[in-house]
Amino acid sequence: MTAWELASFPSELMGDVPELEGVRVDVVRGGDPVRITHVLDAVEPRVRPDGRAAFPTEGTAGEGRTNRLDGVVVLSCLDFPAEERPLHEQESVVDLAGPGAELTPFAADTNVVLTFGAGNGLGNEELEAWARSTTLAVAEDLARPTLDAASVDVERFELGPADESLPSIAALMQLSDLGPLYYQYLYGVPVGRAGLPRAVDPAELLDGAVTSGEYHWAGLRNATIVFQRNALVRTLYREHGRRLRFAGLVLMRGYEQTADDKQRAATAAAEAAAALGAVGAVITTDAGGNSHTDVMLTVRACEQVGVRTTAVVAEMADPGSTSSGLTDWVAEADSIVSAGNAEELVPAWTPDRVLGGDTLLDGTAAGAAGPIPVRNYLGATNQTGQHALTATTW
């Protein structure tokens, strides 16, 4: 495997945000009394000194060196035209202060908020494509001044030889392809057409190979920044040669649409893990419901071929009920990390400013909304293990 270096630069180097037709730009900081609504994606500014694209659609990521701006996040916001709304209930909130602030840890950073207008007659899919490509381009532009600056830190990602007696552990990461506005992309290709399951160099994931155009429940979906800063892949790199050997990363598809396809995908993912020589796998989730079934079937398929598993899932337990918050479960899933209960309510909070849109999808004013469920906070119950939120039994 090749080595990849990630160089960090201070946020003060952030470049100017260019004037963009139809896009409002605001720069706000963690702790500001600001609520950001209708958030599509969150992206860390990155650029490559060798001139290759930071979010490549050709070639291979995870090689050479990439520069990152530390402590800066680009947030894209878009309130899709209601009459064309393809999927109901997809509120996505980031609070920079108040009780919800700790639910989206990147809200501690400097946030460059791009609010895309919807008044130019484009359909939802065209609007989304415009917002997504613009957001990635802005993220790249913001990092450009790092090319002439000195880095404050360089991390090297390389899997060297490790003690053969250590257990060999793979990461099985689920990506979504549920149709328009519910795609994640591998090198710019919707993952349903990207030949999944597929083993990739884990550094590819950290280096922009996977981007998100998936706007399901905010708390449970994986924004682009979750892949760029992925805590699971980073943990496995760090532990490689210490407590384990990092066998590799398998990207697999969630939201398979038929029972046969679901079983086939689960079996193929398990075989891919076994082919890496893994004796254990951490299995992660994107979004929920349907995709939880894909995770559970993958757990079963892995255990059946001798790959021991731990799955990461969010719970959806009614706060007033003692019934299970798991959407699906198999008996083989005896080791589960809870990413928190997405249905818990976050107390009401009144921001001084609202960006992204003044009205929440349920029609309430974003600045004076009552309690908001955790699931509406972007990344709150992230099911790749990005954050520390968990649920315990009371």
């Binding site: 349907n290 021991r308 731990t310 990461v312 990390v337 209960n341 818990e344």
Partner: protein, 342 residues
Amino acid sequence: MRAVHYLNQFFAGLGGEEAAETPPTRLEGPVGPGRGLAAELRGIEIVATLACGDDYFGEHEEDALARLIELLEAERPGLLIAGPAFGSGRYGFACARFSRTASDRLGIPALAAMHEENPGVGSAEGTLLVPTAVNVAGMREALPRMARLAEALVSGRELGPPDQEGYLPRGFRRNRMAEKSGAERAVDLLLDKIAGETRTEVAGGFDRVPPPAAVPDLSRALLALVTEAGCVPQGNPDRLPTIRAQGWLRYELGGVQTLASGEYESVHGGFDVTLANEDPNRLVPLDTVTALAADGRIGRVHDVFYTTTGNGTPVASATRFGREIAAELRDAGVEAVLLSGT
């Protein structure tokens, strides 16, 4: 604050097994363990003790509860405290059921005390339970714990986690920040599992519904359409939620053979409804079943369909919807249901 204390016949001093058939009885002030409890309570006075024989409660549960609730209400208490029942199953069951019922019917905060393996724990349904030792030797330890939780319960503040407040976990899932990220915890759990120690942060376990017997003769059966796809008349007149529906809806089909586009839509929040709205029959396959009925392969199609949004629905709610819909269908003589899921 006025409190009522519940005891069984033995701890109330009414007698042992020979008095187990004693019906609900009111005693003035604190009695037996209630005296020790009263000494621990700050700002709470035990104004009366209610007692019932263990066998009487078990054999006449509804009557016993009705009478106990009547006696309780007359005291106008702000709190009910039951037990401690330690490991005694019949006593623990009565403590749990009375506490639960007092909260449900009168809105009176209640707590009971018993051993964590007492069968009564399973009947508590969210009632606060103070864990105790398995037998009466744990009385001295139990009473201060009950008093502390009683004081917390009536203080009006939100209760903290079980280990901090001293109650048995009730099954509610509450969020907190862990010390490590989910990723680090996942790696820890997996390495421990490979080393032979399997742990989980979420217990699984669902009931599995066995498939019913086959319909004996579909060509004579009345078939109904039920869906959780959020299919409703255009405009969603009854405001079915897109997620976490609290109930279900029933719509007359009016003898039509197909669900026309523009007359029905899906408000389900869990999938892209574009294609479904182009042809609502793909959610509720009325066109197909009426064709099958015309061919004689299905007896008749029920002229009413049932719908809800199956999206983020707690299992308890879904179970209730199913029971309620099934009862109506059975009353209507429906013998077969085509349930379209999404």
